[in-house]
């Protein structure tokens, strides 16, 4: 297929995934910010939402204080923020239009419908209900797009590139949450059981829609090192780094088989997966969770560049 088409599909999937992630981040911040301070709630939540989405710097170029109003506006609606939901959806739809021929009707409609919804919004007069309704629409659109892709696309390179974008973005997003909240996840015994952090850990799970599944997997109350284990190493958890890399290697392998050729991207992804499979949480804590995540983000980014280099230009 055309490299440009593959590139468009890959980024289309990334932007849809990112839009959903930003929507979830806003929801979690709302929830945390509305807790009494004695339960860990603080206005810091909005700063932390900015950090999670990697937009703190550009935010402060346009606003002074991180409040619910300013951060929601910036993360959801601002044209100045390249990762705002609005920009993600605009870019996703532009990409989708450019590769209409590579999409199924269902995928196109999932994107076009949420985009039309977005056009109807009157951004001047949004209250919290309107915002939340919109965030819900965004999450639904992402589910619909993802489901449509998996149910309707031909199993060939176009599908594999779409999936790759989806999982590389997802791994990036999960790692970013961990990066911002890592200090809460360190196994510092003195804090354990404190009401303060309990809600913070739960909020990490909530950001990746995994509160219930956590309990199914661990059958324990929420403990920070288990949350870290769940999001990093547990292959059952569909947003964990390990699960993302299970998928990334699978789709890269399919591409390699289809094209009859392995390349740097395949080798790099396999190495990353092996590292995740062999790692144990104790060791990661031993060498530093923060260092581990920073390293992962860099490696994941490098994989993205390799995929681009190998197929998309």
């Amino acid at each position: 297929m055309l490299s440009r088409t593959a590139d468009n599909l890959y980024w289309l999937a990334r932007y849809i995934e990112r839009a959903e992630f930003v929507a979830r981040t806003i929801e979690v911040a709302q929830r945390m910010a509305s807790l009494p301070t004695s339960y860990g709630g603080s206005s810091n939540e909005w700063e932390s939402a900015l950090a999670t989405t990697g937009c703190a710097d550009s935010f402060h170029k346009h606003y002074r204080d991180a409040t619910e109003r300013t951060v929601t506006e910036f993360l959801a609606f601002s044209p100045e923020n390249s990762s705002s939901i609005v920009n993600c959806l605009e870019t996703a739809r532009a990409n989708a239009r450019a590769v209409r021929t590579a999409l199924t009707v269902e995928m196109w409609e999932a994107i076009n419908d949420v985009w039309l919804e977005l056009k109807k919004l009157n951004r001047r007069k949004l209250d919290r209900d309107d915002v939340n309704r919109f965030l819900n629409k965004v999450k639904e659109a992402s589910l619909l797009f993802d489901g449509s892709a998996s149910r309707t696309m031909l199993r060939r390179d176009s599908y594999w590139f779409e999936r790759l974008g989806h999982y590389i973005e997802r791994a990036d997003n999960t790692a970013r949450i961990l990066d911002v909240k890592y200090h809460l996840l360190l196994p510092d015994q003195s804090h354990v059981g404190g009401a303060l952090d309990y809600y913070q850990w739960t909020s990490v799970l909530r950001a990746v829609s995994a509160v219930t599944s956590f309990h199914w997997v661990y059958r324990e109350s929420v403990k920070p090192w288990l949350v870290a284990d769940f999001l990093i190493l547990n292959e059952q958890m569909p947003r964990s780094l390990a699960s993302c890399y299970e998928n990334i290697t699978r789709y890269l392998d399919m591409l390699a088989q289809g094209y009859g050729r392995q390349g740097p991207a395949q080798r790099h992804a396999r190495a990353m997966r092996a590292r995740l499979q062999n790692a144990r949480m104790e060791a990661i804590f031993g060498t530093g969770l923060h260092e581990f995540i920073t390293g992962f983000l860099a490696d994941n980014h490098r994989l993205g560049s390799e995929v681009t280099e190998q197929y998309l230009v």
């Binding site: 055309l2 490299s3 239009r97 450019a98 209409r100």
Partner: protein, 471 residues
């Protein structure tokens, strides 16, 4: 001026092909029609069939109004029309070939010299150039109008990159969804095989140096082109890649596209990019849409461009008036389709006549399209007429004039109910190695404003489905 109505004729008697539709229209509740109209609009918007209007910053995507009442063409009428279309396109092709080779038509005095050499779309680069299988016009859109039951007039030949065929196909799909009951009572000739015919045509003209199974692509200027939807729609239906200039590159005079598996050779390019923008090395150097070196590969015979470079010499409105003679000269046949009588303002006597009769004539720029830059005398105010008079005196060679035709009307659903509106028709004619193919039908454009004669979508015109009835 009373127009010929295709349903009710001149005298109000329902014409044969329309009998069932007329009965149906008489009985169907207005509310049902309105509901179906809304449904059609919803479908168009949902599928995303839009077009862009240049100079309209507000909305880059708009819907072309769609009229849900089908236009019917009887079997015999179509048979006659399609013979005429085939003849016309064969003549266009031979004429273009002649322009870039022996120029016999010019030497025989059929067309004046300046019509070729002073034509801005004449491409000296193509002089003496053969194109694969000697086919220059692979896809033509011939605009025809009717004025009475017997006569089709050709209004305009489009031999460059005619657009609109996606509407022909989508209109039909939507009509089948909306009105299955009408399809059950009419034998409507299908148009859905157009993409297959087009692909067969494109593959048949692959260069001799290409592989057994040639690779065809569709070259688009990109997302911001007004016809982008059509480009992606067609590429999809043809099952070929939709490429932009940056997806292609030339090496050793061979065209390649950049794919995820490395460079792949391209043999046939269905290009929807104008000559000027095809190759910045040969034509406009500021074009970012083209492929540097494409003309070199083309002239080396390693790639087919459909349509060929330089076909514009055959489709401007000045050449148009010579078409009947061109047909006689190259084919030795009498033209089957009529030409609208045309005054060439380049000729002093004609110019004098035109200047005297501006109030009753339609004046067009020879290179204009899309309904821009024309004067419709009977509808124009004094000021507009005077502006045009000045333009004509300043540079008469770029204008032609024609009588205002009473375009035929067809029934349409408008505010006040079912009412006649003026229509034209653009059938699409394909020409490949094995001959001419025409899918029965075309794009009917309709002037939805009461009394208006301008059918162009850029000026508020709409479209409707065209039903050629089977034998």
């Amino acid at each position: 001026m009373t127009a010929f109505d295709e349903m009710r004729g001149m005298n109000g008697q329902v014409r044969p092909g329309y009998r069932q539709l007329a009965d149906w229209l008489a009985g169907v509740p207005r509310a049902l029609l309105e509901e179906r109209r809304r449904e059609a609009e919803f479908l168009f918007r949902r599928i995303g069939i839009t077009f862009a209007v240049y100079g309209d910053a507000e909305s880059t995507e708009r819907l072309i109004p769609f009229d849900i009442v089908p236009r019917i063409i009887a079997h015999e009428e179509w048979t006659q029309l399609s013979k005429g279309l085939e003849q016309r396109v064969r003549a266009l092709n031979l004429y273009i070939q002649d322009v870039y080779s022996k120029r016999e038509a010019m030497r025989a005095g059929i067309v004046p010299e300046e019509l070729i050499f002073q034509n801005p779309v004449f491409r000296p680069e193509m002089n003496g150039q053969r194109v694969p299988h000697d086919i220059w016009v692979h896809i033509a859109g011939i605009d025809v109008v009717r004025v009475d039951p017997e006569t089709f007039y050709v209004l305009e030949d489009n031999a460059r990159t005619p657009s609109g065929v996606s509407y022909m196909l989508e209109n039909r799909e939507i009509m089948i969804r909306l009105f299955p009951e009408l399809f059950a009572t009419h034998r409507v000739a299908p148009v859905e095989n157009y993409p297959d015919e087009l692909l067969a045509t494109l593959k048949s003209v692959a260069p001799l140096t290409s592989a057994a199974e040639p690779t065809a692509v569709l070259l688009t200027p990109g997302l911001f082109n007004s016809a982008y939807y059509e480009h992606s729609f067609l590429a999809d239906k043809l099952g070929i890649e939709l490429v932009e200039g940056r997806d292609l590159f030339i090496e050793n005079n061979i065209v390649f596209m950049r794919t995820t598996e490395g460079p792949q050779r391209v043999d046939v390019i269905y290009r929807r990019v104008d000559d000027d923008f095809l190759d910045p090395l040969a034509f406009r150097p500021d074009s970012a849409l083209g492929v540097p070196g494409l003309l070199g590969a083309y002239r080396a015979g390693n790639v087919t461009l459909a349509n060929a470079v330089g076909t514009g010499v055959a489709d401007d409105k000045a050449v148009y008036s010579y078409m009947p003679d061109i047909i006689r000269f190259f084919l030795g046949e009498e033209p089957i389709l009529k030409n609208v009588p045309t005054w060439r303002c380049r000729e002093p006597e004609s110019l004098a006549y035109v200047l005297e009769h501006l109030e009753e004539l339609v004046v067009k720029e020879t290179h204009g399209s899309g309904g821009y830059g024309m004067l419709i005398g009977p509808k124009a105010c004094k000021e507009e007429i005077e502006t045009f008079r000045a333009k004509l005196k300043h540079d008469p060679t770029t204008f032609i004039a024609q009588p205002t035709l009473a375009l035929s009307t067809a029934p349409c659903l408008v505010e006040e109910g079912i009412a006649p509106r003026h229509v034209d028709l653009r059938p699409y004619v394909l020409q490949g190695k094995t001959g001419v193919r025409i899918v029965p039908g075309g794009l009917t454009r309709v002037a939805l404003q009461a009394g208006s004669l301008v059918v162009n979508s850029s000026q508020g015109g709409g479209t409707k489905d065209t039903w050629v009835l089977g034998a």
